[in-house]
């Protein structure tokens, strides 16, 4: 069954449950019961011209919003997601929803991104598999899922699709763009490609160009997927998906999100439910079993082709490519920056964030840098609420005082 249809069906379920649950009252500080919405751009003027050539049309963007857009339209914050994220960034889809949105700790009434003050928007990137048009969506030319006929998309393409979503929502200029990892790349792209449309930029745990090591890990993931016999050149939607390959890709990715110290602390060499080695290849170690579980559960919610397309977009990201140098890339930037690094992040170590800061500073842009002390590795930006909330809240509040509407 094509994934687009599945998403539509799921959406209806959520709405019904959500409507019932509305009266139950949300837990304190929660964005409450939220619903993923969809907008389809199908007018001739709404074709998305892609960086790699060609166009994407029509296309759908899945998004969620929290809080209210002010009358002056000066309180909109776009939150951009990382590789495996989606539009569901805060709140719950139903009263008994076990998993809140992926950055629920930061978004809600009284939280860092205070939904009593700000209108928070998040969307699933194009190429994604959580409601926005991606390789699992129907190709209008064939009536079947795109598979690998889906065009290669880039971070800039994702951002241009978000810009159209903002047009749709009547948001001319963002108070802030906030995101970690691939989300941070989108934030940087926003500042560079749409300098007049964003006042504050908050890139976390990211880089201005995908580092070599990250390309290398992504390539291992892609090879794992493509080596799975179920992948079948990417046209597997009428049969079994390449779950084994995707699962291995996720396991590799997951290792890069942790740190030596965090793994040591979380698992050590502990064995799982046994007192001694089994002297087999079964998952004796807790860390093995954890990774297998992470890999497997990922295959239930993620499309293998999307993994290929999005890691490609990550690898192609390089702000210096179009502009010669990073300093040159940031020349027209008007946004104020708060750049957050995490001490134990080895996927995007602090030096990569400092590179962004130095390039901005070279032309005297307004930029602040803060390094969060954490042993959680790359994932720290999803976990260290207490260490980030204060500074992020302060940055947003100071930006709200200096916001200048789009000219």
């Amino acid at each position: 069954m094509p994934r687009v249809v599945m998403t539509a069906a799921k959406r209806t379920d959520r709405k019904e449950i959500g409507d019932v649950a509305m009266g139950l009252g949300a837990d304190a500080g929660s964005a409450g019961i939220v619903r993923t919405k969809h907008v389809t751009f199908d007018q001739p003027s709404q074709e998305l011209a892609l960086e790699g050539g060609g166009t994407l049309a029509p296309f759908t963007v899945a998004f969620e919003t929290y809080g209210k857009l002010s009358e002056r339209k000066d309180n909109a914050i776009l939150v951009t997601h990382a590789l495996s994220g989606d539009a569901h960034v805060a709140g719950r889809h139903s009263a008994n929803d076990q998993r809140p949105g992926w950055w629920d700790m930061m978004i809600g009434p009284g939280k860092g991104l205070d939904t009593d003050k700000y209108f928070v928007i998040s969307s699933n990137v194009i190429g994604g598999c959580s409601g926005s048009t991606g390789p699992a969506s129907e190709n209008p030319a064939t009536g079947r899922p795109y598979g690998t006929d889906f065009p290669i998309i880039t971070i800039a393409d994702m951002v241009n699709a978000q810009a159209m979503l903002l047009d749709h929502l009547g948001v001319e200029k963002l108070l802030a763009a906030v995101g970690g990892s691939m989300g941070g790349m989108q934030v940087l792209e926003w500042a560079v490609s749409h300098p007049g449309r964003v006042h504050l930029c908050l890139p976390l745990a990211t880089a201005a160009r995908q580092p070599t090591q990250a390309i290398a890990f992504n390539e291992v993931g892609r090879q794992a997927i493509m080596a799975d016999p179920d992948w079948r050149g990417g046209h597997y939607y009428d049969g079994k998906p390449p779950a084994k390959g995707l699962s291995v890709a996720r396991m590799v990715g997951h290792i890069t999100y942790l740190s030596d110290e965090a793994m040591q602390e979380k698992f050590g060499r502990r064995l799982r439910d046994i007192h001694d080695y089994s002297f087999t290849f079964s998952a004796d170690f807790e860390v093995e079993s954890y990774l297998r579980h992470q890999g497997l559960s990922f295959t239930n919610r993620f499309d293998a082709n999307t993994y290929l397309y999005i890691t490609r977009a990550l690898d192609y990201f390089d702000l210096t490519r179009r502009h010669g140098s990073l300093v040159q890339a940031f020349r027209d930037v008007t946004a104020r920056f708060l750049v957050l690094a995490f001490s134990s992040d080895w996927l995007h170590p602090p030096y990569q964030l400092k590179e962004i800061v130095s390039a901005l500073r070279a032309t005297h842009k307004h930029v602040s840098y803060y390094e969060v002390e954490s042993h959680y590795g790359h994932d720290a930006f999803l976990l260290e609420r207490e260490k980030m909330e204060g500074i992020i809240g302060a940055f947003l509040a100071s930006g709200a005082r200096t916001f200048v509407p789009a000219s």
Binding site: L338, K354, V357, S358, R361, V367, S368, Y369, I391, S398
Partner: protein, 198 residues
């Protein structure tokens, strides 16, 4: 009450210049420089509270440890680099002075003068490590690990080949400076130096 030392430092900073304030704390000096002198200023501080306080004020601030130097700042990238009342707390004060004149055209350094007569007397007569309004800590918990005197700093400038453009003395951060400095190394509680590379 406005700090006189901040005002004297501000008087040394050219209007509209680019300023880097090291160990900027809550950003009060930077704020004054931006407001009164129209500078393009940013700060550096190692503490989370300081960085957050600066961000709250809308200032541009870099979270970094001065003991590691200023590797993230390019040669000659600023007109003025300031280090206000923190030199004595750094592990490698000589290195940071060197870094200041590398990154900035001019360096402004202020510090408590350990040769003021009160610490001299406390040590000479009392035989104890001096504790005063300016240096309120006991020897075992003081952050001031590299105290120096006006003469010491002049000697460092000489050794580093730095030209002293201005040398100002105060008897307190809220006290107007004297008309004429008499025996500054004995009488001044604080000193402000503006130096450049020769």
């Amino acid at each position: 009450m406005r700090r006189i030392d901040y005002k004297l430092i501000a008087d040394l900073v050219p209007h509209g210049s680019t300023v880097l304030d090291l160990a900027c704390g809550d950003g009060e000096l930077l704020n004054q420089l931006i407001r009164d002198k129209g500078v393009r200023g940013s700060g550096v501080d190692v503490s989370q509270e300081a960085v957050e306080a600066c961000v709250t004020k809308g200032l541009s601030v870099f979270h970094g440890d001065l003991d590691a130097g200023l590797a993230d700042f390019a040669d000659g990238s600023h007109d003025v680099v300031i280090l206000s009342m923190s030199l004595q707390q750094l592990r490698r004060p000589r290195m940071i002075v060197r870094e200041m004149v590398r990154v900035g055209r001019q360096a402004i350094v202020s510090f408590p003068n350990f040769a003021h007569w009160t610490p001299r007397l406390q040590l000479f007569l009392g035989g104890r490590m001096p504790v005063s309004r300016d240096l309120p800590h006991q020897w075992w918990d003081t952050p001031n690990i590299h105290l120096c005197t006006i003469k010491d700093f002049r000697a460092l400038c000489l050794e580093e080949g730095l030209r002293i453009e201005h040398e100002l003395y105060l008897s307190g951060i809220h006290t107007q400076p004297p008309q004429r400095a008499v025996l500054p190394n004995l009488m001044a509680r604080l000193a402000i130096f503006a130096v450049t590379r020769c």
